[in-house]
């Protein structure tokens, strides 16, 4: 799970988290007894619908301000370490 979530855990952390998460899932087990097969699932409090607007370009974010919040920037772009292969 940690790998899927892009997290790295030490042995101690793994033990602690495993028992804590088991306790939460145990609590959720009270749902098992409920028969809700005939009930529709709700993803949201109210029905969602697509909201469309006239394609009228407005003012966007100031690019300099956005880049100021980034950890590494080069030529007005986000700079990242190598994506493919080993680092060199």
């Amino acid at each position: 799970m940690a790998r899927l979530a892009q997290l790295e855990l030490g042995e101690d952390e793994l033990d602690a988290f495993t028992s804590q998460l088991a306790a939460v899932l145990d609590h959720a087990a009270d749902l098992e007894a409920l028969n809700v097969d005939d009930i529709e699932p709700s993803t949201h409090p109210f029905p969602l619908k697509n909201v469309l607007r006239i394609d009228d370009p407005g003012e966007g974010f100031n690019i300099e301000e956005v880049l100021e919040g980034a950890p590494k920037v080069e030529e007005r772009q986000f700079r990242v370490p190598p994506i493919l292969g080993d680092a060199s």
Partner: protein, 479 residues
């Protein structure tokens, strides 16, 4: 001084906005070192804003309904050019390039932002102890927690740092700290207040709302921040609320149900102190002419279980964006993938990691139906049970929190015990309904108790009318 009085006196020129801000900064300087309600106090900027308000008054301009009123805002609301951290190391130092819609609305109304308040990291927690920048303490007793996750905002109002504050409520994060700190806290109908610029935790549950010392101040703040926002696709296309006009209409003839499952007859763990206050609240509402009876929302007892699947599932998706590429600090590693993992491992605290993993698990192939699918169906069940209850009742009441404020460190080792704090507040988030907490007396330990008032979607006005009655009989709301 109440927010309403400050705005009146500043608008009429009786007092200056600068003097108001200076008074509040003085209180902050005195008490904040003990309370730690703020991640950042923006005193200098607040004084500049105050001078601007004063010069507008001098030149005869008409100002908004919150003219010169200091307000504290939870540090998960984006403020342009002002650090917004969510009390997480992963956003330390980040300055958003835009203001949240609620921040824009506050500024238009003449409010003055005095600081960014502490929270459980990414709003995940019920005690504000999960902050990467240290816990906030309850102003009524510094050994106790203020509740959470909007503990900094609740404490700021309770300590007199500002008459108003904004928080966010995903499972009770406004109402529970309001109850524990003895202030008014409101979670509006989902979609009533724009979420644009609120850092997302669980998007189908999150809602922004106000804290105040009085019900009328809370109503005014909610009026200001409510209304349709085209930048939030879930925003309800309605005009801003008008509550003040009906606030004193009382509860005569109103049908009020006491949720029996949340008031001692279903769930255990609700303290006798809290149940006694609920009994008194019933008497007060009855004496004011309401028709108060026992109500049943059977599926509400399953709210907690469903919530701790749904909220982490949404969070695991929302928090995927924190990877050290576009914002916040980065922990550099050989490749981009390793950099992302290293940044997240170092940047997130334990509770956030727990919830991300829980959500990842609940959404994974093989477990999706058993956990996430089932929880979504239970969510419908809770909505159906509320709908049935509201055929008979106009509003419902219950305790806000099962206990008064507990000591720091009391529940940090056992996440499940902490989660139980939200047992009475979660059902309203799952249903998208409005609910608020009103301070109503105290427990044997002298700590405040809150009564929760729940209403159907869009029925904030009735909810506030009942809150006003409870306030008038509780000895609160005077300062």
């Amino acid at each position: 001084m109440k927010a309403i009085e400050i705005a009146e006196k500043v608008s009429s020129g009786e007092i200056s906005a600068r003097s108001v801000v200076e008074q509040h900064i003085e209180i902050i300087n005195d008490i904040e070192p003990d309370v730690n309600a703020f991640n950042l106090v923006t005193a200098e900027k607040a004084l500049i804003d105050a001078d601007e308000i004063d010069s507008k008054i001098a030149s005869g301009e008409t100002l908004g309904p919150l003219a010169g009123v200091p307000i504290s805002v939870k540090d998960n609301l984006c403020t342009r050019g002002v650090e917004t951290t969510c009390s997480s190391k992963i956003l330390e130092g980040w300055k958003p390039p835009y203001d949240a819609t609620v921040i824009e609305k506050l500024k238009e109304a003449g409010a003055i932002i005095i600081g960014k308040t502490n929270l459980d990291e990414f709003a995940m927690g019920s005690s504000t102890e999960n902050s990467a920048f240290g816990p906030t303490r309850n102003p009524h007793n510094l050994e106790r927690v203020p509740g959470g996750s909007s503990g900094g905002s609740a404490a700021a109002v309770a300590a007199g740092f500002s008459p108003l504050a904004l928080g966010s409520d995903t499972g009770g994060s406004i109402r529970q700290p309001a109850a524990l700190c003895g202030v008014v806290g409101v979670k509006p109908t989902y979609g009533r207040v724009s979420r644009y610029g609120l850092v997302a935790f669980a998007s189908s549950l999150d809602q922004v709302g106000p804290f105040a010392n009085t019900v009328s101040d809370a109503a005014l703040a909610l009026e200001v921040i409510s209304g349709h926002d085209p930048r939030d696709s879930t925003s309800i296309p309605e005009k801003p609320l008008d509550i003040s006009g009906v606030l004193d209409d009382g509860v005569r003839g109103m049908r009020i149900g006491v949720i029996e499952e949340l008031s001692g007859k279903g769930l255990g763990g609700i303290s006798q102190d809290v149940l006694s206050r609920v009994e008194e609240a019933i008497k007060v509402l009855s004496n004011a002419g309401a028709d108060v009876e026992s109500a049943s929302v059977p599926a509400s007892v399953y709210g907690l279980s469903a919530y701790y699947v749904i909220a982490p599932a949404e969070a695991s998706s929302n928090l995927a964006r924190y990877d050290g590429i576009r914002f916040g600090p980065r922990t550099e590693a050989a490749t981009t993938a390793e950099t992302m993992t290293a940044t997240r491992t170092k940047g997130f605290g334990d509770e956030v990691k727990r919830r991300i993993m829980l959500g990842t698990y609940a959404l994974s192939a093989g477990y999706y139906d058993a956990y996430y699918g089932k929880s979504q169906r239970v969510r419908t069940l809770i909505m159906n049970d509320f709908a049935k209850a509201y055929e008979k009742f106009d509003i419902l009441i219950s305790p806000t929190a099962p206990t008064t404020a507990f000591p720091l460190g009391d529940k940090t080792a056992d996440p499940m015990q902490m989660y139980l704090q939200d047992v009475c507040t979660i059902p309203s988030n799952l249903a998208g309904h409005p609910a608020m907490s009103v301070p109503f007396g105290s427990g044997a330990d002298g700590m405040p108790v809150g009564i929760q008032i729940l209403a159907p979607a869009m029925a904030e006005r009735e909810m506030f009318q009942a809150a006003k009655i409870l306030e008038s009989e509780s000895g609160n709301g005077i300062e």
